[in-house]
Subunit: 124 residues, 2 copies
DNA sequence: TAATTGTATATATAGAGGTTATACAATTCA
DNA sequence: TGAATTGTATAACCTCTATATATACAATTA
């Protein structure tokens, strides 16, 4: 496991860890059943408290990416991409609701909103 | 000026004040040149520190809705609706960028994004 | 049974946000 | 001109939240 953390970064350590592991899983570099390093070992490698690695793993567990068992370790779960997709859709929906509300108050039309959406998508 | 504040509400007092005045201006109930109550008078009415009303007025000033002059008072500015619109467009753009990025990572297509946008707009 | 793994509870620490107090400066107006 | 009124500036206080940690406990492994 190649995890890199930076103090300079404003992002909290536990999120840096969780996000990097999440990416490895989504990219298929970590697969169902794969064992993650134990919380204590990873913490020692990164020279941080193992409670911080625990926090990272909790985050991943909460999001359905891994499972942990006392005495055994932590393992990558079968990825339910459909559930992940649904969760992201919910997040996107709330963003769009806010955008839509703001637009309405400012007299910005739906057509403009759609055009803007195409515009920001093109720019990547 | 009929301003209502609530402690029960999680929204900070200075924002409650600023938003209510902002709405009055956008609805045309307060017009260019109209005098706002002095910070101290409004604070006394609302039984809060006048630094909190000042904070509210600063917010409104920052957003271009009012102007304040030492010794004279605070007044509604000529509304530049075009500037307001541009600012809201910027806010909307950043929301759409985030939505678009999230969609891309989750394999959600632009078409779905557009459909979702229509959907959330219809529901109001 | 010793070592390893995850869990639970409590604590410290820092930082941000919101509200307030107090002293200062400019304008008004009697 | 001088008192009253208005906005400004700086600092302090309080609360809440988030981050990271320490330490004791429980389950599994080998």
């Amino acid at each position: 496991m190649n995890i890199n953390i930076s103090n300079a970064n404003g992002e909290p350590i536990y999120l840096q860890i969780a996000n990097q592991i999440k990416t490895l899983i989504l990219e298929g570099k970590l697969k169902e059943g794969d064992a993650l390093p134990s919380m204590r070992i990873l913490a020692t490698e990164l020279r941080i408290s193992f409670m911080t690695t625990k926090r990272a793993y909790e985050e991943l567990e909460r999001d359905g990416f891994i499972e942990s068992y006392t005495g055994r370790g932590s393992f990558v779960k079968a990825q339910n991409l459909e559930i992940y997709r649904e969760e992201q859709l919910k997040r996107i929906e709330s963003l769009l609701v806010e955008a839509s509300d703001t637009a309405q108050k400012a007299g910005i039309t739906m057509q403009e909103l759609h055009e803007l959406l195409d515009l920001v998508n093109g720019g990547e």
